[in-house]
């Protein structure tokens, strides 16, 4: 159910946009969240928040400008529209950027995305405290510096001057624990997090067990000699690495002349068995999206099929620029301009039994550091800190730390030894990945 106050504000804003002789759309984002952190046997932080932000995009004389406001009084909304119009006056002419046609309505299903539960704050506090207590009692655990739970309900509205509306509401609960273990001169700080639609779907005892098992397994890790290894990333790392380079599939990056894939539609960019899709309508994933940042309905998009680049991801402007279909990948928050982003990417299952990916010697990488700084999506190059295990025939021989893994993302797609036949969600359920064994990756130790 849409908030009547927000609908009223949207009417006021869009009426003013039309009166100025422009077209436009308004995005409203509001969320309510609870965050609890425990430390030293007590609650360290208890945070309760709610916010709402309005962001308008106006298009006048084929020029787009945006502005936002966190206030919703009449003067603030008027000022927001005036600023957007002023910004548009400086923008380049682009007859491809347009407000979506149609006057339909899209609304997400609360029963799927926003189920409420009756878990009390006291229960959530107890869960955070219990995670710390149970981990702190384990052998070699020095400290549990970071652990807590979160509960966030986020709503997003899109209103257009054409009369189209879209509204989504989703809830996510999250729990995490990171422990510092010490044994002699060896130490390790690591942990896991889990996400669910409802708090009572989170099993904090599993988080405790997995955090401890992960730390113990890595504690005595040492570097391996520098050379090239076959590498199998765990699902978290594989999803994170693909996410760091997701912009190579962006139609906006291609239009701007910086995507290395901009002139390669139809070409082979990976091995024969590689399928990369974006599947925003999988409701079991938490990257689910009914509509994009322009309010356009989403659908599954095949980006790479059997190694060939089928299409890039597009919003209305980039689709218009290239004369192709809009794939419903507009990305825009109230505060940011129109971009392109994937919703819920997946690597399709291959034909190799997952157990057969682990033959011979390889490195299993379970931790990557520096993804925000050690990757370059324009060149495709990366070099990252890493940790994991030296393995042979599916057995972990020894833990490995203080190494780096480097390469070029696009080169990697051509050096795939095998793709497993099972897909796995990452912990945040934002990406669905068949595991991939990559050949011949430079490792420094």
């Amino acid at each position: 159910m849409a908030d009547p106050a927000i609908e009223s504000h949207a009417r006021r804003v869009l009426d003013e946009v039309v009166r100025a002789g422009a077209h436009g759309d308004l995005i409203v984002h509001q969320d309510a969240s609870l965050s609890l952190k425990a430390h030293d046997g007590d609650l360290e932080e208890h945070k309760v928040n709610s916010t709402r932000v309005y962001g308008v995009r106006v298009i006048k004389d084929c020029r787009a400008g945006i502005a936002y406001s966190e206030a919703a009084d009449a003067a603030a909304l008027h000022s927001m529209v005036a600023q957007a119009l002023q910004n548009a006056a400086f923008a380049r002419e682009d007859d491809k950027e347009a407000i979506a046609d149609g006057n339909g309505s899209l609304v997400t299903d609360d029963a799927t995305l926003c189920r409420q539960d009756d878990v009390t704050v006291e229960t959530k506090i107890a869960a955070a405290l219990a995670m710390e207590r149970e981990l702190a009692a384990r052998d070699k655990v020095q400290n549990v510096p970071y652990n807590g739970v979160q509960d966030v309900t986020a709503e997003r509205y899109v209103f257009t001057t054409a009369g189209h509306t879209a509204h989504s509401k989703a809830r996510l609960c999250n729990a995490y624990a990171y422990a510092l273990l010490k044994d002699g001169d060896k130490d390790v700080l690591d942990g896991v997090e889990r996400t669910a639609r409802q708090f009572d779907e989170l099993d904090t005892s599993v988080i405790v067990e997995e955090t401890y098992a992960r730390c113990i397994a890595l504690l005595h890790g040492e570097a391996v000699p520098s050379r090239h290894y076959d590498v199998l990333f765990d699902v978290e790392c594989q999803a994170a690495l693909f996410d760091a380079f997701a912009s190579v599939f962006s139609g906006r990056a291609a239009r701007d002349g910086i995507s290395p894939l901009r002139e390669r539609i139809g070409e082979r960019i990976g091995v024969d068995g590689l399928d990369i899709r974006d599947a925003p309508r999988r409701t079991e994933g938490f990257g689910y999206a009914l509509f994009d940042g322009e309010g356009i309905a989403t659908a599954t998009t095949t980006l790479v099929e059997r190694g060939r680049l089928v299409t890039l991801a597009h919003n209305s402007a980039t689709a218009g620029h290239f004369g192709v279909a809009n794939t419903g990948h507009a990305a825009r928050s109230p505060k940011t301009p129109l971009g392109v982003a994937l919703h819920q990417p997946e690597i399709g299952p291959g034909e190799i039994r997952e157990s057969d990916l682990t033959s011979g010697e390889y490195l299993e990488i379970v931790d990557l550091a520096g993804l925000h700084s050690g990757t370059n999506a324009v060149s495709g190059d990366f070099s990252l800190g890493a940790a994991g295990f030296l393995c042979a025939d599916g057995e972990r021989l020894r833990p490995v730390r203080n190494i780096t893994v480097a390469g070029n993302f696009l080169d990697m797609l051509t050096k795939i030894v095998g793709i497993g036949d099972v897909q796995h969600w990452n912990a945040r359920r934002s990406a669905l990945m068949a595991r991939i064994r990559f050949a011949d990756m430079p490792i420094s130790g």
């Binding site: 502005a67 206030a71 923008a91």
Partner: protein, 461 residues
């Protein structure tokens, strides 16, 4: 920005509910961002953030909430909700506010609210684009950004503090893309400060464009980087990210209080070689990481962290000081009203020495010259850090050789501080954004060129 009587009422209410300390943080943040693509304006956006953060402290526990509303009833309601589980008889009394405006030593002139200068900013980025393209026809694209913001804060607390400040930030960046066949590489030049658009008087768009293009062309010609442990000479300016990641975060009481820093019990001890003296200084005039007062209302200061290799200070916010016993350093910072403050760096740098670049390079048989660095990250609990080389060269037999592609340097804070053997005199600062528990804040890193005798280079050869 809000009536002091409302703030007093809210704080009185929190104290009446038993809070040891209560604070009202009011923020109005005006933003303008321009993005260009070659000689066209790609995006132009602006907006205003406004909100109030309410912090209640019960012993060592922090209760935090925020809202966009300013009415007394709503603010008191949030306090009541936050304190619901902890309310008790009053433990302290409030003090009447004693208003003291922050002394502004930076004196911004062309501020966002008085002079947005949109056309001038666009012209600056266009000029930088032309300069980049003039360097080589291999420059296939440029992306420019110019962001300006004006952050007004007003802070009240139960100790009677009432103060305010307005911070003016400006930052301009040009990224150049060089292309040859299917190969692409980038170079980036950024300038910024705690000032208004008058910064343009000190900037040269031609130099900015030429520098971004030069880096992109160097990287386009780069070969795979060798791997393994070796000596590395790290360039000045943004090279200071090594100290920021390897040591700075580990000296914040946010980590120290949790004993989640490898340096938490090392005060007074030698933790680095004697050539290393390091400072976190919030007072530098018009520098990007400077502040007049921190986000708890305390005047900022220059804090000597390491003196000739010896750890002499931590960076402490109010709560960190209470938990650790270390003195407050005016380092309580936060991204916005949506975050509780935490101890954070400001302008952090290794002080210059006397060594020359030639001597550093000449002392290396096989190593890397990391002329420019990108960002990085650290695990404070173990001190393990990583950071990216964005312009690097091999060093062989005491000479700088060919450029090398993407490399990451990894080590631990304690190890790298013991391996800094030479520090040059070519001191420079560079702007960055630092992310941590209290969000993203502007920070400056800096150093003169220095030599690390042994560090792991993660290359792709």
């Amino acid at each position: 920005m809000i009536d002091a009587r409302i703030a007093q009422s809210v704080i009185d209410h929190a104290v009446a509910l038993g809070a040891d300390f209560a604070e009202v943080f009011v923020e109005r943040n005006e933003v303008s961002n321009i993005a260009t693509l070659s000689d066209q304006v790609q995006d132009l956006s602006s907006g205003i953030d406004f909100g109030i953060g309410l912090r209640l402290v019960y012993s060592s526990k922090v209760l935090y909430g925020y809202t966009n509303r300013t009415d007394e009833d709503e603010l008191r309601r949030i306090v009541t909700e936050l304190a619901a589980k902890d309310r008790r008889d009053p433990a302290t009394a409030t003090s009447a506010f004693d208003f003291r405006a922050a002394d502004d030593v930076h004196g911004a002139k062309r501020t966002l609210s008085t002079d947005p200068a949109l056309r001038e900013k666009v012209d600056y980025l266009f000029a930088a684009n032309r300069a980049a393209r003039a360097v080589s026809n291999q420059i296939s694209q440029t992306r420019g950004t110019c962001g300006q913001r004006q952050q007004a804060v007003e802070i009240f607390n139960s100790d009677g503090l009432h103060t305010n400040d307005t911070r003016h930030y400006i930052r301009a960046t040009l990224q150049a893309v060089a292309a040859s066949g299917t190969e692409q590489a980038t170079g980036t030049q950024t300038d910024g400060g705690l000032q208004g658009w008058e910064i343009v008087e000190t900037l040269d768009p031609a130099a900015c464009g030429a520098e971004a293009a030069r880096q992109a062309l160097v990287n386009l010609a780069a070969k795979p980087c060798p791997s393994g442990r070796m000596p590395v000479v790290i360039g000045n300016g943004f090279g200071g990210v090594i100290f920021h990641e390897a040591c700075g975060h580990l000296l914040e009481t946010t980590s120290v209080a949790k004993q989640a820093s490898v340096f938490h019990d090392r005060l007074g001890e030698t933790i680095a070689t004697s050539v290393v003296s390091a400072v976190d200084d919030g007072t530098l005039t018009r520098e990007w990481g400077s502040i007049n007062i921190d986000d708890e209302g305390m005047p900022t200061e220059r804090t000597q962290l390491i003196e000739n290799g010896r750890l002499v200070n931590f960076l402490a916010d109010r709560l960190g000081a209470e938990k650790t016993g270390h003195r407050r350093t005016g380092s309580g910072r936060r991204q916005s009203y949506r975050f509780a403050p935490a101890s954070r760096m400001r302008n952090t740098f290794i002080e210059p020495g006397e060594d020359s670049l030639d001597d550093m390079i000449g002392s290396i048989d096989r190593g890397i010259y990391a002329a420019r660095m990108g960002g990085g990250s650290v695990q404070p609990g173990t001190g393990e850090f990583n950071f990216a080389v964005t312009e690097g060269y091999v060093v062989e037999d005491g000479k700088v050789g060919h450029p090398v592609k993407a490399a990451t340097l990894i080590s631990t804070g304690p190890d790298v501080l013991r391996c800094i053997s030479m520090v040059g005199a070519d001191f420079a600062l560079a702007t960055g954004m630092c992310g941590s528990v209290s969000g993203m804040v502007p920070t400056t890193v800096g150093q003169a060129t220095l030599k690390v005798d042994d560090i792991l280079v993660g290359g792709n050869a």
